[in-house]
Amino acid sequence: MEFKFSEANNKNIKDILGKYPVKKAAVMPVLYLAQEQNGYISNEVMLEISNVLEMTPEDVLGVVTFYTMYHQSPVGKNHIQVCTNVSCMLRGGYEIYDTVREKLGISNGQVTQDMKFSLEEVECMGSCGTAPMIAVNEDYYENLTKEQVINILESLK
């Protein structure tokens, strides 16, 4: 399916281009815009970005695959990210991760059938002092217990 940036995003891209001396440098922020508009980065999105920023599609693909925050397939409406790195692990990060997994019935990288939830085990999110944590889309939830995690997930349904 063909992808075109919305009117508003075309204006945003113009603003972004003003920050950098070359067009290519805008690729990361523009990918974020596209992901917000389209939900994920499809091949069509990458083609359109390569046109807008005058790069090869391969260069766009190279950027997309290098960074973990660009999704190449649709994620759930609530993208649940659980940190299991050392500081969280020491304070029960894996218990939180298992709780989320059992509650949602999906494992790392999967999406629920109703597309409401997806799960990702992530590396350190910078919440070591407030561990354990989960992030739902852009929002952090910190200093969690299993019960709180279940409550959060239920409130999202």
Binding site: K19, Y20, P21, V22, K24, A25, A26, V27, M28, P29, L31, Y32, L53, M55, D59, G62, V63, F66, Y67, T68, M69, Y70, T84, N85, V86, S87, M89, L90, R91, V122, E123, C124, M125, G126, S127, C128, G129, T130, A131, A135, E138, D139, Y140
Partner: protein
């Protein structure tokens, strides 16, 4: 003790409150000096980088060419992805204007007309907070073209936030620059160093968020004042981050050289359940760990920690109590570096995976005695053989955890276990001696 980076003033993050408390006066003062005078003051203050390498900030600035027909750039590193580090987000949230003021002074000192603040993509909330502060600074005429009128100088600089997208390696300065340029975050071979050949081939300086936030107070109070705080060779305060098995985790701003035991017991409230400390990582997960029985008298600054065979890193202290499974912890750390290796250099790309595989074998109880030496050998072959310091970051925890806790790890392996050979080429070939016999 006075707080320099995170002063305890209510609503200090608001521009009005910041200005009322003398905010942006340091910039005004700095602009009456020549660029050389500022660099000289910061050099004399002894301010060292807070991002991990503890390099002298003033010295770094002095590497920037005085005359250049190319534009100059300043990058502020707020990628903050080292496990155990969570200090920069406090600055974005509670003291963004001091960071912006520090950027103005630094940009003036190195004559950079454009500055990028690189912040990790997961920090959506903090990016918004900093952007708000930046917008306020712009509308008050403190940044951009208008600052020429506000400060009555012929210099101006623009500040932009560049949002990362989930790659630990982008905290490495040359990788950070590639990321801003819109490329995969591959580290570059050095030399040439960024001061000669940085962003788009132009002279560039990269400093950590905390380092730059220290600059306005140095200009305001003078370098002598700063150089007398904490340890003389690494002066100033440090934002220590306490995490893991600790009663009161969090960020503590204290003079450099604070005792590690004070951090854990006096400020951090000790270990839950009054358990003994088994292991402490003093500066983020890549730094060599210390044994719990080694921490008495250890001072937390770059030079003192060097004497104990470790480093200050980002000041992120991870505490582990006596019931911690160090094998699992080390396997998790190894998994992190395996995941974050950019894949450019073979020793790191392959070695991190091998270390993880071997450590997973240890976790499942199938580890052989040979595995411990094998792990150290793999780590030694990564260290020093890669373009960037991720090689060391991946090798050190494995190498030093095993050598310093050898007794602990030996209990988790057995000479009964024979390493399985899964090399297909070997298994398809007729050999004179069967592989099983060879191993015994």
């Amino acid at each position: 003790m006075e707080k320099i980076v995170l002063p305890e003033i209510k609503d200090y993050h608001l521009i009005d409150v910041y200005i009322k408390n003398g905010g942006y006066e340091s910039a005004k003062k700095a602009f009456t000096f020549s660029t050389d005078e500022i660099i000289d003051q910061v050099k004399k203050s002894g301010l060292r980088g807070r991002g991990g390498a503890a390099f002298l900030a003033g010295l770094k600035w002095s590497f920037m060419p005085k005359s250049s027909d190319k534009p100059k750039y300043l990058c502020i590193n707020g990628d903050e992805s080292e496990p155990g580090s969570f200090k920069d987000r406090q600055i974005f949230e509670y003291n963004p204007h001091q960071l912006i003021e520090g950027i103005l002074i630094t940009a003036y000192a190195i004559q950079a007309n454009t500055c990028y603040i690189y912040i990790r993509g997961e920090y959506h909330k903090w990016i918004k907070l900093l952007q708000k502060a930046l917008d306020d600074a712009y509308s008050n005429g403190l940044v951009g073209e208008k600052m020429k009128d506000t400060f009555g100088i012929g210099f101006c600089t623009n500040i932009y936030i560049h949002k990362g997208a989930g790659a630990y390696i982008c905290g490495e300065e040359s990788s950070l620059m590639n990321s801003i340029e819109g490329q995969r975050g591959y580290p570059r071979v050095k030399p040439p160093f960024p001061a000669q050949n940085g962003l788009w081939g132009c002279p560039t300086t990269i400093n950590n968020v905390e380092t730059i936030t220290n600059v306005p107070p140095i200009i305001k109070n003078g370098w002598e004042w700063f150089s007398k705080i904490g340890e003389p060779k690494h002066p100033g305060t440090i934002l220590y981050g306490l995490s893991g098995h600790i009663n009161k985790p969090g960020i503590y701003e204290l003079p450099s050289g604070t005792l590690l035991t004070d951090l854990i017991y006096k400020y951090g409230g000790g270990v839950p359940g009054d358990k003994k400390v088994l292991c402490v990582i003093p500066g983020g997960s890549s730094m060599p760990p210390l044994r719990g029985d080694q921490i008495e008298g250890v001072k937390m600054d770059a030079e003192s920690l060097k004497a104990y065979g470790t480093a200050i890193g980002t000041g992120g202290v991870i505490v582990m109590d006596e019931d911690t499974d160090l094998v699992k912890i080390l396997a998790r750390i190894a998994k992190f570096y395996y995941h974050e290796s950019c894949g450019q250099c073979t020793p790191c790309r392959e070695g991190t995976g091998w270390m993880l595989k071997i450590l997973n074998r240890l976790v499942s109880g199938e580890g052989s005695v040979k595995d411990l030496d094998l792990l150290v050998s793999v780590a030694n072959n990564i260290e020093g053989n890669t373009i960037c310091a991720l090689g060391e970051a991946a090798a050190w925890p494995v190498k030093f955890m095993i050598t310093r806790f050898r007794d602990y790890f030996e209990k988790r392996v057995s000479s009964e276990n024979i390493l399985p050979v899964r090399n297909k080429v070997h298994s398809m070939r007729n050999t004179a001696i069967s592989i099983d016999t060879e191993q015994n």
